[in-house]
């Protein structure tokens, strides 16, 4: 164990910090769930790509930087410290990207990874259906083979960013007679294909962060299938592992929130009446630190050849409930002003805490609800009986 950064790691941090200082937009971008904001964020992805900071952990051959996990953590720490824009293509970068690297053909990798890395193609995820939420094996949308094409019919829902994205990665039933997790395949679909209808669904903040996608005889080449026909479930589980695992929610995000929370607390220290706030602030800070420590521990282990398994579920519960707790604490500190939105003319950044508070409500739900994660922990990590 050596909890010191090497001179190279310190130099890397300085390099990241200098680039971000020079390139992060001075004026915050609009929400990526608006058309203008999405365009601004797409442009930011391209700026990142030009500096070769878009996909730091990806291999250089796919437009990445070939960084190891400790360097990735350092990059993320600097990224949130600089308050750089959120990653509009996170579904592509953190979920589909690693899946493509593991299961894609050389042609698929060359075609999709490079354009993801360059910031030219933005991705949405199309897994859930009206009848298939936590129970994803209940998927009914079909992609039926017709020569060199699949003909897709059905409906996806809760597709984040799909209103403005270019592509969606989906799970479809390629064997019409199959049931449950058999007969599913992982298919990449351009969102401008004829027969696709995208219906925006406004989220809690009123912006169309979700979409419902209707497929009506949509044709895509068989070459857009990732992995073997019928292997979709296993690939999706690998993707879900990436989602819950290390990459999607780096600790720096929560440490930055904890730091802002401490500042908010100090600023209001003299007018807080709620007796539980002091404890909640200490807990917030400790837990954000604990999440960082745990991630450094996992990163160190993975770099020595270890694997990540059911502990991904432990992580997902922890960061989502930490985020919720921190924002609840901020709401308690802001007290009567908490309900004010960012547009309200306040002297503090009250409204931005409300933005975060709203988003924090989704954490325990997406990427597999925390109830499902608790079942996974109990059954797979602790060995409790399934039935």
């Amino acid at each position: 164990m050596d909890l010191n950064y090497t001179p190279e790691q310190i130099a890397f941090r300085h390099e990241v910090r200098a680039w971000l200082d020079a390139n992060v937009p001075v004026t915050p971008l609009q929400s990526f769930d608006t058309a203008e904001g999405f365009a601004q964020h797409r442009q930011w992805e391209q700026t990142l790509a030009q500096g070769n900071w878009g996909m730091v952990t990806w291999p250089k051959e796919y437009g990445g930087r070939g960084c190891n996990l400790i360097e990735w953590l350092i990059f993320e720490e600097e990224y949130y410290r600089a308050q750089a824009p959120l990653r509009v293509n996170q579904n592509g970068i953190f979920l589909l990207g690693p899946t493509l690297m593991e299961y894609g053909t050389p042609e698929q990798k060359a075609r999709f990874l490079t354009r993801m890395a360059s910031g030219d193609e933005m991705w949405a995820q199309g897994w859930s259906e009206p009848g298939a939420g936590s129970d994803m094996a209940a998927i009914r949308s079909k992609a039926i083979r017709d020569g060199d094409e699949y003909v897709i019919n059905g409906q996806k829902v809760w597709s984040t960013r799909a209103v403005f994205a270019d592509w969606v990665f989906c799970i479809f039933r390629t064997d019409a007679d199959s049931e449950r997790h058999h007969g599913l395949s992982f298919v990449l679909v351009p969102l401008d294909a004829p027969g696709i209808t995208v219906r925006p669904i406004p989220q809690l903040n009123g912006l169309p962060g979700f979409a419902e996608i209707f497929f009506d005889d949509v044709r895509v080449p068989v070459a857009n299938r990732l992995g073997e026909e019928g292997q979709g479930w296993n690939i999706a589980m690998a993707t879900a592992g990436f989602e819950r695992g290390l990459m999607l929610r780096s600790p720096a995000r929560f440490q930055e929130t904890a730091k802002r929370l401490v500042a908010l607390y100090r600023a209001h220290a003299n007018d807080i009446l709620d007796l539980s706030v002091e404890d909640a602030v200490v807990k917030s800070f400790m837990d954000a630190e604990a999440y960082a420590l745990s991630t450094y521990q996992t990163a160190s282990r993975l770099m020595k050849g270890g694997k990540i398994g059911s502990e991904a579920s432990v992580n997902k519960i922890f960061w989502s409930e930490l985020d919720q707790h921190m924002h609840e604490t901020a709401m308690r500190i802001l007290a009567s002003n908490a309900e004010l939105l960012p547009d309200a003319k306040t002297e503090t950044d009250t409204g931005h805490w409300m933005d975060g508070f709203l988003f924090a409500q989704s954490g325990p739900i997406y990427a597999g609800t925390n109830e499902i994660q608790r079942n996974i922990i109990a059954e797979r990590l602790l060995g409790m009986p399934r039935k």
């Binding site: 922890f318 109990a378 602790l382 409790m384």
Partner: protein, 354 residues
């Protein structure tokens, strides 16, 4: 940057773990409750033969010359078996304190050598603890007096037994008079020794709390797998699964805090307060939640003297409050967070906090 234990550290821990699991059984713990001293001299000598009480004693004084980080996994295992013998307090708290004074105080040097051979034993007091544990089997006591530590022969103090809810714990109020000749350290070095002792004590308690929490969850998973109601294992019910999963989440995120604390105590002791308090609070919460959810999952059986669960629960309830209760440690964290000069930020996780 490498946040993993070495192969040597893991192998050493595994060996001790096997030893503890074969020697320290619930039956042996229970038999200690009825004996006068509550302590098992045979077991202590076995641990001495393995070099355990003197792990942190410098090699020059007959020890293994290891540090707090080398010991922390072992302390976790001591908790896992609910070891009654004061191995953690001796190896992690008493001997490092003596070792700090050994260069200029021959009493400490000779005592360390005798601790290594098993001829002598030492107990430690501190202002955060109202009692001294295992003072009755110690030949010497390390006792605080203001900014001083004194090394006092047990014959020269009066021990008043205080009964703990945990029948394995043996606690004493100590009546004694500080003398010039018993004083070991004072002034600034005395303050430093008191602070370092507190951190080592809290680190040891935190490590044991993690082991206790994991052991309680393990025995409860077993119980809820074996016990059937309505024709199926009660552990197949989601409510019980979530009880156990919540314990696992708490424990998994207390562990890295514990390991950072052990590293910081061994490598950057003057910056260890924050890391130690974090570890102690997190480990205490993990152990208390495990106790609560495990007794609930055991049903009426968990509320009996016969069921072994209470051996672990009571130790958890006790150690959560020993070497600084949660209020003490949360206040240290709070004071630090309120300090305008506190270095806060993601790039400071391993830096000079506290």
């Amino acid at each position: 940057m490498d946040f993993t234990f070495s192969d040597d550290q893991r192998v050493f821990c595994d060996n001790v773990k096997q030893f503890l699991h074969s020697e320290v059984t619930p039956e042996r713990l229970r038999s200690g409750w009825d004996s006068a001293s509550g302590r098992d001299d045979t077991l202590w000598q076995q641990m001495v033969d393995l070099g355990l009480p003197a792990m942190l004693v410098p090699e020059a004084f007959g020890g293994l010359g290891m540090n707090e980080l080398d010991f922390v996994l072992l302390a976790q295992e001591c908790g896992r078996v609910a070891l009654a013998e004061p191995l953690v307090e001796t190896a992690l708290v008493a001997t490092p304190l003596l070792a700090c004074q050994a260069e200029r105080d021959t009493r400490c040097a000779s005592l360390l050598e005798k601790i290594a051979t098993g001829e002598r034993r030492v107990a430690v007091g501190h202002a955060v603890n109202p009692t001294v544990s295992d003072a009755h089997v110690a030949d010497y006591l390390l006792l605080p007096n203001g900014n001083e530590f004194h090394l006092v022969e047990r014959e020269r103090v009066k021990l008043i037994p205080m009964q703990s809810v945990d029948p394995s714990r043996r606690l004493f109020k100590v009546e004694w008079r500080p003398e010039e000749e018993t004083r070991l350290v004072n002034g600034a070095p005395g303050v430093a020794a008191l602070a370092a002792t507190l951190n080592r004590g809290a680190l040891g308690a935190a490590a044991q709390l993690i082991g206790l929490a994991e052991a309680m969850v393990e025995m409860t998973v077993q119980y809820t797998t074996d016990r059937t109601q309505f024709g199926r294992a009660i552990g197949s019910n989601q409510a019980l699964k979530h009880h156990m999963a919540n314990c696992a989440v708490k424990t998994e995120f207390a562990k890295p805090a514990l390991y950072r604390a052990a590293y910081t105590v061994s490598q950057r002791p003057v910056h260890a307060d924050f890391a130690v308090s974090h570890a102690k609070v997190a480990a205490g919460e993990a152990a208390l939640l495990a106790a609560k959810n495990c007794i609930q999952s055991h049903g009426a059986m968990g509320y009996t003297w016969e069921c072994n669960l209470h051996i672990w629960m009571k130790r958890a309830w006790a150690l959560d409050k020993f070497w600084g209760h949660s209020g003490f440690h949360k206040n240290r964290l709070h004071q630090w967070l309120m300090n305008p000069n506190a270095k806060i930020g993601a790039d400071k996780t391993f830096g000079e906090q506290g």
